[in-house]
């Protein structure tokens, strides 16, 4: 098992954790609050995750207000689950003295 370099970056890890927990479309503003990122920073990380096929980004209007909603994909959920399993393996390896 290997670390997922795309997901492991701090902000992207928080984005994926939030979306994985929500398991539904999440608005940009809420994702910004959860990840602690700025607008530009969050947009950039979402582009990376979208490029990897881990999230989908939808833009529409509610009345006259623009709205951006982000959803985790099936591939994103699987990649996130694998990365979390890898992190747990690293910790368990350390606790049993198998860390390499």
């Amino acid at each position: 098992m290997e670390a997922n370099e795309i997901i492991h970056q701090t902000v992207r890890l928080k984005i994926m954790s939030a979306l994985n927990t929500a398991n539904e479309a999440m608005e940009f503003t809420r994702l910004k609050s959860l990840s602690g990122a700025t607008d530009g920073n969050l947009g950039s990380h979402l582009n990376t995750l979208e490029g990897a096929g881990y999230v989908t980004v939808e833009k529409d209007f509610v009345g006259k207000k623009p709205r951006t909603r982000v959803t985790i994909t099936k591939a994103g959920k699987q990649a996130f689950a694998r990365h979390v399993a890898y992190l747990r393996d690293v910790l368990e390896g350390a606790s049993t003295g198998d860390a390499s």
Binding site: S17, N23, R30, S33, L34, L87, L91, G93
Partner: protein
């Protein structure tokens, strides 16, 4: 890419923190409209009681409308991934209403202020319990509702209904808006 055990532990902690906060926000998004709706119902019900205790009967249709609307709002959340939390909120309110009717049938209060204070204390208890088991902001709401109710009941008895219409009703609306602000 190699990740050290310390980095892995820090990453897992970040994941847990964000997941817990994400659940909190989800719960607040479901609870906020329900809270605002009950705030408006309290304003109408207690407001009617403040005009005349005889108008207290408006609580029967208001409670029925509130219960139905609560189930509707909870079911609407159930259509999304919020189903577990949404249905819990719906069933919690349903259980409270059944308990409220049963407790009145057994205890048979005689004072109008007792009729008015009891459901408010019940709501306070339910929010405190929700806060203890799920999201912390509900604890603050529970304490505020209980405090306003007890202050009004013991210190402002002649104006209790008016107090509850303004402070309790307004407080629940503000509480709902507060939950939406996160």
């Amino acid at each position: 890419m190699t990740i050290s055990p310390d980095q892995a532990a820090a990453a897992l902690k970040d994941i847990e923190t964000v997941a817990a906060r994400s659940n909190d926000l989800k719960s607040y998004a479901i609870g906020a409209p329900i809270l605002i709706m009950w705030g408006i119902i309290c304003m109408m019900g207690y407001g009617a009681g403040a005009i005349s205790p005889a108008y207290g009967v408006v609580w029967f249709p208001l409670s029925a409308i509130g219960a139905a609307a609560t189930f509707f709002l909870a079911r609407r959340a159930k259509r999304g991934a919020d189903g577990r939390i949404g249905s819990r909120i719906g069933w919690t309110w349903g259980a409270l209403i059944v308990f409220y009717v049963a407790a009145f049938a057994v205890l048979r209060p005689t004072e109008p202020n007792q009729f008015a204070a009891f459901p408010a204390l019940l709501v306070a208890l339910s929010y405190a319990l929700m806060g203890i088991w799920t999201s912390r902001r509900y604890i603050v709401l529970g304490i505020a509702v209980a405090a306003f109710t007890l202050v009004g009941y013991f210190a402002l008895a002649p104006f209790f209904s008016l107090w509850m219409a303004v402070v309790m009703g307004g407080g629940l609306v503000l509480g709902g808006l507060w939950l939406k602000q996160v």
